[in-house]
């Protein structure tokens, strides 16, 4: 049985049977000595909690769980891991959707939860220094009274951490105009798997050396643990307009998006929802979306009042020229907030439809949005899976949401089969495997659709410069054969264990 083979490998790797707690584990004793007994947990319950993230992937096996509070403690954990030849996996809030935080090989889990201080807000340099466990929305709430915010706003922003945002180079609806996390990180303190603490990047205009900061952002926990982040803070726009455009078909909505961008407007956000998800949202929060439209486009422009009035009118015109059956501007802040609440709770809303969902994430050229969406619906239908589409249309970032009941025999297989066809269709259209969720364990096997062996070999070199033995989050991102040699056992994880 595949699962048995997997636990055998883990046993070889960790020197003990995964899932049991031997008495007086010397690893745990060392960790407790370095931190404190109450911040190192090794009970079955604690380890079980760390096994999953927000993805559908299972099969993670966690080692001891640590809650460091300082950079020095993270360094100590890395050194202990090295001494015990144990892998580590950084963990934020566990909202990742590609399995990035899933522990493979019973690693030490380093949780950022207790490193959650906003250390400094520096208005002269327009940066905030934060610890990695700070929750994304908490930072923006902290900055609001000062007239600023943190621009990346993932839909999970109420819980996800800045460290997770950095590791996944996360995006959000308002990243269309303002850029994803990478554009907002100026410096990072990181602890390498060797235990060394380094400052990457800097607050100066053009820091000396390779852009190691840029290389670290989006590395999904495989280069080390970030202990402090300097992010740029963005001034709040004095005016904002939010429009809701309704269409008969999602094709019309998608083509409108392409036409808006082609017109030279850079809206703050352009989000599309199809009819199924709009109905679900309406049943869930009653945000005021029309349920009879084939699709809706939520468009937002921000900036100075006069200019955005021009842009808003133009967006309305472009929409009508592309078949919009209704164009509505939010008249009050309440109306606007409600529309956004609907958009941001879309994933919560589907719980009423089926118990499980699998949220995909690919990017296609905007001109191909309509065609790829057609394909997505056809693929789902072929596999008899319900699909809903709610996505960051402005930058071509599709989020097909496959909704299902995993208890039904064969359903999960159908979901995976449909997912891999969606990936192939996106890449064939000139797109990429992931726009914001990352590769994790989810898309490793598909990396060769986008990259040659030479390309992946070079990605591996980047990784090895930071982490020569691949101790940090092994078994992620690069596919088997391109991962690190010493954690070789992880490479042959049978795909069934993820089921």
């Amino acid at each position: 049985m595949a699962g048995t083979a997997w636990s055998d490998r883990l046993r070889n790797l960790t020197g003990r049977r995964a899932g049991t707690t031997p008495v007086a584990d010397p690893l745990v004793a060392d960790l407790q000595q370095a931190l404190s007994a109450d911040r190192v947990h090794d009970s079955g319950v604690h380890r079980a909690l760390m096994k999953k993230d927000a993805s559908v992937f299972t099969g993670g096996v966690s080692g001891p769980l640590c809650y460091p509070e300082t950079t020095e403690e993270v360094q100590a954990i890395m050194r202990i891991a090295e001494r015990h030849d144990r892998a580590v996996v950084p963990r934020g809030a566990g909202t990742g959707l590609a399995g990035g935080a899933i522990p493979l090989g019973a690693p030490i889990v380093i949780a950022a939860t207790r490193m959650n201080r906003i250390v400094d807000v520096d208005l002269d340099d327009r940066v905030a220094w934060v610890e990695p466990g700070v929750v994304n929305l908490d930072l923006t709430r902290h900055l609001q009274p000062l007239g600023f915010h943190f621009a990346p706003d993932p839909s999970s922003q109420q819980v996800c951490t800045i460290g997770g945002n950095v590791a996944n180079n996360s995006g959000g609806p308002h990243c269309l105009a303002y850029g994803v996390t990478n554009a907002h990180v100026v410096a990072l303190e990181v602890v390498l798997p060797s235990g060394e603490a380094l400052m990457l990047g800097g607050l100066d205009a053009e820091p000396l050396g390779y852009d190691l900061r840029g290389a670290f952002v989006g590395s999904e926990g495989t280069l080390g643990f970030t202990t402090k982040v300097a992010v740029t803070i963005t001034p709040n726009a004095p005016a904002v307009r939010t429009l809701l455009l309704s269409f008969d078909t999602i094709r019309d909505a998608a083509n409108t998006v392409g036409a808006i961008i082609a017109d030279g407007i850079v809206p703050a956000a352009l989000e599309v929802m199809d009819q199924r998800i709009t109905e679900a949202v309406e049943n869930y929060v009653g945000a005021g979306y029309p349920t009879d439209a084939g699709a809706v486009l939520l468009a937002e422009v921000d900036g100075l009042a006069d200019g955005i009035a021009i842009d808003a009118d133009r967006i309305g015109e472009i929409g009508r020229a592309h078949g919009a059956i209704d164009v509505r501007q939010a008249a009050t802040e309440e109306e606007r907030a409600l529309l956004w609440k609907g958009r941001k709770t879309a994933f919560g809303a589907i719980a009423q439809i089926a118990p499980d969902y699998y949220l995909h994430d690919t990017v296609v050229p905007r001109a191909k949005l309509a065609d790829v969406l057609d394909e997505v619906y056809a693929i789902a239908e072929r596999h008899d899976v319900l699909v809903m589409n709610v996505f960051h249309a402005g930058d071509g970032n599709l989020h097909p949401l496959l909704v299902f009941d995993a208890r039904i025999e064969g359903k999960l297989d159908a979901v995976h089969a449909a997912g891999s066809e969606i990936l192939a269709a996106s890449v064939a259209a000139g797109g990429v495997l992931s726009g914001e969720h990352g590769i994790g364990v989810e898309k490793q096997a598909y990396m060769d659709q986008m990259f040659t062996d030479d390309d992946m070999d070079h990605q591996g070199r980047l990784r090895r410069a930071f982490d020569p033995v691949c101790r940090a989050n092994p078994g992620k991102v690069l596919p088997m054969g391109h991962s690190c040699a010493d954690i070789a056992a992880l490479r042959s994880v049978p795909s069934e264990v993820w089921g």
Partner: protein
């Protein structure tokens, strides 16, 4: 089959052949920043990257351009469709701009080079054609090689081609100049200036956007000084200093000589060279490991180092 796989452009492949797999080699652009990172080893063979715009899709706001193309020529092609990019226009090539990684004086409005490179294709030390990143405006697939390559001075690979993010040229762009404004009050007075330059006496502000917004922003600037329209930015002295934005207020001409500082970013162009900078020991060691991974025999741009740039 992915359109991204295995580069088949014969122009790129022959560039890879030219770079080959042995002997010291470097790519020369227009030599506008040839001195950056130190002098090349004298035996170094020079190659030039191929030229030409391969594909340009204004509606996607992306352009695929070969590295030897001049930035001016690239921008002329974009301007025909009302667009531009973050690459600085200073007589160099696209590949050179990426290798050096310096931002334009108007980077507040045009963006930074390091976020503009969506995909990079380069010839490796082994003479192989390698691609990093992807063609779309948003992408987190795999490790971020484009970020690593920006500012790498060709020490990790020789650039053949890139996909660059483009931006719409705003309806109106104006440069304003003032003799009496406090430059550090500008960021809190106007929302999104495209540039704020200061030479210790005068302040230049570039405002861009809808005409109606530019006019109202100009009105707001009146509260902090008297501004008149100017022909453009001031001439920029040769040497480049990289400071924190907050450090600009204490700039001292005794150290810098005549200067023009970019308020909000921290770049300073000065007649005196910047004091030497150095990397922290740990970062220097990581830098060396990176170089060794990508160029184990040290054949790419020998003599040149990002650690002394």
């Amino acid at each position: 089959m992915s359109p991204l796989l295995a580069v088949d452009d014969p122009v790129l492949l022959s560039f890879a052949d030219e770079v080959g797999a042995s002997g010291p080699v470097a790519a020369a652009g227009r030599r506008t920043r040839w001195e950056r990172g130190g002098a090349l080893h004298p035996d170094t063979r020079l190659v030039t990257a191929p030229t030409g715009i391969v594909a340009y899709s204004p509606a996607e706001m992306t352009a695929q351009v070969r590295a030897g193309t001049s930035v001016e020529e690239f921008h002329l092609a974009l301007a025909e469709h009302g667009q531009r990019s973050a690459l600085p226009e200073r007589g160099g090539t696209v590949g050179g701009a990426i290798a050096v990684g310096e931002n334009a004086a108007s980077s507040l409005g045009r963006g930074r080079v390091r976020t503009a490179v969506l995909q990079i294709r380069y010839v490796s030390a082994e003479g192989r054609m390698v691609s990093g990143g992807g063609p779309t405006v948003k992408n987190v697939t795999g490790f971020d090689l484009p970020r690593l390559m920006v500012g790498s001075l060709g020490t990790l690979g020789l650039f053949a081609e890139a996909i660059i993010r483009t931006n719409p040229i705003p309806e109106v762009s104006v440069w304003l100049r003032s003799d009496d404004a406090n430059p550090f009050a500008v960021p809190t007075t106007v929302l999104k200036p495209s540039a704020i330059l200061w030479d210790g006496d005068q302040t230049w502000v570039e405002l861009e956007g809808h005409r109606i917004d530019v006019v109202s922003e100009q009105g707001r600037l009146g509260a902090i000084g008297s501004f008149r329209e100017a022909d453009g930015p001031p001439a920029l002295p040769h040497h480049r200093w990289s400071l924190r934005p907050a450090e600009l207020a204490s700039l001292d001409r005794a150290a810098t000589g005549a200067f023009v500082a970019s308020v909000g970013t921290g770049t300073v162009w000065a007649t005196n060279p910047a004091p030497p900078r150095s990397l922290d020991l740990g970062v220097a060691a990581l830098t060396e490991r990176m170089k060794h991974e990508f160029d184990p025999t040290g054949r790419l741009n020998p003599g040149r180092s990002v650690a002394t740039a």
